[in-house]
C-alpha cells in the first residue's frame, strides 16, 4: 500500500466528520433566509466553538479509554468564575483569565489524580467531581449575574477583517497550542497507548500514568477555555445545571461523530471539533426549516443516529464475523 492510503485510513474518522459537517452546513446556509454571509457564519461559529472546546476536552479523556462526565460542570464552574474575575483593567482581566484557566487545569488534575492514583472508574469519579464542581459554581453564582470585560469579549466574538469569525481563529490557536503538541508528544502517545492496550503499554515501559494524567489535566483546561468563551458570549455567569449536563452529553455525541473510539486509543480532537460543529448545525437546521421547536430534540436525535450509523457501514463489508468485535 502507498503512504497516502495509510494516511487516508488514519484520517477516515476525521474526514467523515468533516464531510458530515460540510453537508449539514451547506443545507443550513442554503436555506437560511440571509444565505451564506459573514454574519450567519459568525453566529454559527460562536455557537459551535463552545461545544467544540468541550468536545476537545472529552476527546483527550476518551483517547485514554476513559470518559469525563464532569467536562460540562467544569465549563459551568469556569463560566461562573469568569463572570467575577475577567473584568476591570487590562492587567486585572489578564489575571482573571489566568485564574479561570488555572482552575480548569486544577479540576482536570483532580479528576486525573482520582482516576489514576485512586484507581476509581472514570465514569464514577467524574460524576462525583462534576457534582462538586457544580456545587462550587452554585456557591459562586446562586443567581445568574456578573459581567465580563466587554472589550475583550467583543473582540473574541467578533470578526477579523470583517469576515473571519474571531472565535474560529481562537479555536484554531488552541488546536495549535494544545492539541498538536499533545498529540505529537511522548506523553500524548502514552495516552493513546494506554487507551488501546494498557497492559501492552505497561510491558513496553510507556509512561502510562503521566500520559493519562496529562490528558485529564488538559481536558480541564480545554473545558475552562470553553467556559471563558461562554462568558464572552453571554456577558454573565450562570450555574445552569441542565446546560452543564447537556454539554457533557453533547460532547460525547460530538466525539463519536468525530470518529473518536469510545474504546480508546483512536481518534483526534480535530475530528471531534467537526463532530461538534456538525452536531450544532443539526440543531440549527430546525430553525431554517421553521419547524415547531417542540420537534427539535426528536429531530436532533434521529439525525444524530443516522450520522453515527455512517461510521458503522464498514461492518457490512466484513466477511469474517470475528472482525465485528475488533
Amino acid at each position: 500500500m502507498k503512504d497516502w492510503r495509510y494516511w487516508l485510513a488514519e484520517q477516515r474518522g476525521t474526514l467523515l466528520a468533516f464531510g458530515i459537517f460540510i453537508v449539514m452546513f451547506a443545507i443550513y446556509s442554503a436555506n437560511h433566509p440571509a444565505g451564506f454571509t459573514a454574519n450567519v457564519v459568525q453566529t454559527a461559529a460562536n455557537k459551535g466553538v463552545l461545544l467544540a472546546f468541550v468536545a476537545m476536552a472529552q476527546t483527550l479523556v476518551v483517547i485514554t479509554a476513559g470518559i469525563d462526565l464532569s467536562v460540562g460542570m467544569i465549563f459551568t464552574l469556569t463560566n461562573c468564575m469568569a463572570s467575577w474575575l475577567v473584568i476591570g483593567t487590562g492587567l486585572e482581566t489578564a489575571f482573571g483569565v489566568l485564574a479561570v484557566l488555572g482552575t480548569g487545569l486544577l479540576c482536570g488534575a483532580v479528576n486525573g489524580a482520582i482516576v489514576i492514583y485512586g484507581r476509581l472508574q472514570p465514569i464514577v469519579a467524574t460524576i462525583a467531581t462534576g457534582a462538586v464542581f457544580f456545587g462550587l459554581a452554585l456557591l459562586l453564582r446562586p443567581v445568574p449575574g456578573g459581567s465580563v470585560n466587554e472589550d475583550l469579549a467583543d473582540f473574541l466574538t467578533g470578526r477579523f477583517f470583517g469576515v473571519v469569525p474571531a472565535s474560529l481563529v481562537a479555536l484554531l490557536a488552541v488546536v495549535l497550542v494544545v492539541w498538536v503538541p499533545f498529540s505529537r508528544s511522548e506523553l500524548g502517545r502514552a495516552a493513546y497507548a494506554a487507551g488501546s492496550s494498557e497492559t501492552a503499554a505497561y510491558m513496553s515501559g510507556v509512561p502510562i500514568r503521566r500520559g493519562k494524567f496529562l490528558a485529564y489535566t488538559l481536558a480541564g483546561l480545554l473545558a475552562a477555555i470553553g467556559g471563558l468563551f461562554l462568558t464572552f458570549f453571554t456577558y454573565t455567569g450562570e450555574a445552569a445545571y441542565a446546560s452543564g449536563n447537556a454539554y457533557t452529553l453533547f460532547s460525547i455525541a460530538a466525539v463519536v461523530l468525530g470518529g473518536v473510539s469510545l474504546f480508546g486509543g483512536k481518534g483526534s480532537a480535530i475530528g471531534a471539533i467537526f463532530g461538534a460543529l456538525a452536531f450544532r448545525t443539526i440543531g440549527d437546521l430546525l430553525f431554517v426549516f421553521d419547524f415547531d421547536p417542540l420537534w427539535q430534540p426528536l429531530f436532533q436525535g434521529v439525525i444524530l443516529l443516522i450520522a453515527v450509523s455512517l461510521g458503522a457501514f464498514a461492518l457490512f463489508r466484513v466477511r469474517n464475523r470475528l472482525e465485528w468485535f475488533l
Binding site: P181, R184, S204, G205, P207, R319
Partner: protein, 514 residues
C-alpha cells in the same frame, strides 16, 4: 562458556503468588555472546523467572547482578534501561498504533519536545530490516496485521531498543516456517555481535539448532544446566517432566471406521483464501489439517463454524446440505459442532471471570430450565469435566486468568465438551502448552473419537499430525493439495506436500524448521 565472566547472574530467587511457589531459590547465569535455552514444562517457573529479569514482577528474595553490580528493577522500563529487553509470549504491541509508533514506543526520537516522525520512520525501517521483516509497512496499524507479522514487529521493536540481553519467550510460536528461518539468522548474528540471548521454547528442534547452553527448570528451580547437544532429547524431556517420555501418542485404531461421513464440504470457497475444498470426516475419525501456517486452515475451520460470510460451495452434516450462519447455529440443534480456538485468551476465555462461569458459557442453554440456570446440574457437569480433563485449579471460583497456560487450554476444551459435541474442530490447540498437558490432550482426542466424535484437527506441529491423525489433508494456498492416510503420514511426506513439491524422493533440507 566458562572462560567469559558472567554478564548477568540471578541467585536464590524466590517468588510466591498467594500460596503457590512459582520460583524456589532459582539460579541463572547468563554470558555475553551466547544463546541460552531455558526449558521446562508450563508452570515450571520459566515465565516468572523472565518476569523477574524484565522487571515485571519483584522477587520475594534473592539477588540479581549485572556486570557484577547488584541491580533491582522497579518496572519494565528500568530493566529496558539496563539493557534487558524481553519479547513476551503475550504480545506487548499496542493494536491501535502504527508499526513505527510501536517500535519506538519506549523511547521515541524527539525534536523540540515533540516526536520526530521522520526519525521514527527511519528507526522503524532499520529495525524491521534488521529483523528480516522489511515487507511490513511502518505505517500499518498493528491491529490490521496477522499474528505472525505482529510477532516480527515485536522482534523489531526489541532490536530497536539496542538490548544487551534479549529474552525470547515462545517468540516463534506464531511464526511461519520462513519467518522462523529469518529470525534464527537474526539471532545468530546478534550472538556474534556479543549479545546475550535467553531463548524459551517448547520446540526441541529449535533449541537444538540455536542454543549454546541449556538450563532445565522444574517446580520453580533449576534442576540441570548443560552445554547444548550433550544430552539426548529423551533425557532432556525426562528432566523436564520427571517421568518417562514414551508412548506420548495413544495408539491408533487399525483401520478407518466405515461409518458415514458426519461433516462434509464440497467445493468450499471463500474470498481468495479458500479454494474449492472438498473433504469428509466420519464419526470416530481424527482428520488432520497440515501444511505451512496460513494456507487457509484457520479459515476452513471458521467457515464450518459459521463465522465467515459469503461462502461458496456446500457444507453437509450427516449428508444433508446445511447453511450455518453463526457459532450459535453451529453448536446447537442437530449439528453439535465445537471449535477450540487458536487464541484462548481472546477467543476462548473470559479471563477475569471464574473457572466455573467460563466452563458453563457454551452450555448454558442446556443447563437452564425456563431461563434459570440449574445450579446442581451445572455443578455435576463441571465436576465431570474437571475430573475428565484433570484441570489443576485452586478452586472453581478463581479467575480463569490465574491458571497456567495448559490448564487454561483444558478449560477451553472442557467448556465445549460440556455440550457433548459430535463434531470437534481444533485450531492448533497445543500451541505454547507443556509436554505433559499435550500428552493428555492427545489421549483425550482419541478417547472422544472412540466415543463417536468426528474430529478435524489443525496443528502446526508435524509430530502431532503424525501421532494423532487417521488421515491428514495438506493445504496449500487455500486448496487441499494432498491426502495422506495411515502409514503414509510421515514427516517427509508432510513437508514435501506442504511445500507443494511432488514426488516422494525429493530431498528437502528443512530439518528443524518444520
Amino acid at each position: 562458556m566458562d572462560g567469559a565472566a558472567p554478564l548477568f547472574r540471578m541467585e536464590g530467587i524466590s517468588k510466591r503468588y498467594g500460596g503457590v511457589r512459582a520460583l524456589e531459590k532459582a539460579d541463572l547465569t547468563v554470558t555475553a555472546g551466547g544463546i541460552h535455552a531455558i526449558l521446562g514444562e508450563n508452570g515450571a517457573g520459566k515465565s516468572t523467572l523472565i518476569k523477574v529479569m524484565a522487571g515485571v514482577v519483584a522477587p520475594d528474595e534473592g539477588m540479581m547482578t549485572l556486570d557484577g553490580r547488584e541491580v533491582n528493577f522497579a518496572s519494565p522500563a528500568a530493566a529496558n534501561q539496563a539493557g534487558i529487553v524481553c519479547i513476551f509470549q503475550e504480545l506487548s504491541l499496542i493494536p491501535e498504533l502504527s508499526v513505527a509508533d510501536n517500535i519506538v514506543i519506549s523511547d521515541p526520537p524527539k525534536r523540540f519536545g515533540m516526536i520526530d516522525r521522520r526519525a521514527q520512520r527511519r528507526i522503524a525501517e532499520q529495525a524491521l530490516a534488521r529483523a528480516g521483516a522489511s515487507d511490513i509497512h511502518p505505517r500499518a496499524l498493528v491491529k490490521d496485521l496477522p499474528l505472525s507479522r505482529r510477532q516480527m514487529v515485536e522482534i523489531a521493536k526489541a532490536l530497536a531498543r539496542k538490548p544487551r540481553i534479549l529474552i525470547l519467550d515462545e517468540a516463534t510460536s506464531a511464526l511461519t516456517a520462513a519467518d522462523v528461518a529469518k529470525v534464527f539468522e537474526v539471532l545468530k548474528r546478534l550472538r556474534s555481535e556479543g549479545l546475550a540471548l535467553l531463548y524459551i521454547s517448547h520446540r526441541m528442534n529449535e533449541i537444538a539448532e540455536l542454543a549454546d547452553h541449556c538450563t532445565v527448570f522444574r517446580n520453580g528451580r533449576n534442576v540441570a544446566s548443560y552445554p547444548a547437544g550433550s544430552k539426548s532429547d529423551n533425557e532432556v524431556v525426562e528432566l523436564m517432566i520427571g517421568r518417562e517420555y514414551s508412548h506420548i501418542f495413544p495408539p491408533k485404531p487399525g483401520s478407518a471406521p466405515a461409518a458415514a461421513p458426519v461433516l462434509e464440504a464440497r467445493n468450499l470457497s471463500w474470498a481468495d483464501r479458500l479454494d474449492k475444498i472438498s473433504l469428509s470426516v466420519r464419526a470416530g475419525e481424527v482428520v488432520g489439517l497440515g501444511g505451512l501456517d496460513g494456507q487457509g486452515q484457520r479459515e476452513l475451520l471458521l467457515a464450518f463454524f459459521g463465522v465467515l460470510r459469503g461462502l461458496r460451495g456446500d457444507v453437509l452434516i450427516d449428508g444433508k446440505p446445511v447453511s450455518i450462519t453463526s457459532p450459535t447455529a453451529a453448536s446447537h440443534g442437530g449439528i453439535g459442532m465445537a471449535l477450540i480456538p487458536e487464541d484462548r485468551k481472546t477467543e476462548g476465555l473470559m479471563l477475569p471471570m471464574t473457572v466455573r462461569e467460563n466452563l458453563s458459557f457454551a452450555a448454558l442453554d442446556r443447563l437452564s430450565k425456563a431461563g434459570i440456570i440449574d445450579r446442581a446440574a451445572e455443578q455435576r457437569l463441571i465436576d465431570d469435566m474437571v475430573g475428565l480433563l484433570a484441570i489443576k485449579t485452586a478452586g472453581l471460583d478463581i479467575p480463569v486468568g490465574a491458571l497456567s497456560g495448559g490448564n487454561q487450554q483444558k478449560v477451553v476444551i472442557a467448556k465445549w465438551l460440556m455440550r457433548q459435541p459430535r463434531i470437534i474442530l481444533l485450531n492448533d490447540p497445543t500451541r505454547g502448552i507443556d509436554v505433559g498437558t499435550k500428552q493428555e490432550l492427545y489421549q483425550l482426542m482419541r478417547k472422544l473419537a472412540d466415543a463417536g466424535a468426528a474430529i478435524l484437527f489443525y496443528s502446526t506441529d508435524y509430530d502431532e499430525l503424525i501421532g494423532c491423525c487417521d488421515r491428514v489433508l495438506v493445504l496449500y494456498d487455500g486448496a487441499v493439495k494432498r491426502e495422506l492416510v495411515g502409514d503414509g503420514i510421515t514427516e517427509h511426506a508432510l513437508i514435501a506436500s506442504a511445500l507443494n513439491i511432488h514426488g516422494d524422493d525429493t530431498r528437502i533440507g528443512l530439518g528443524g524448521k518444520a
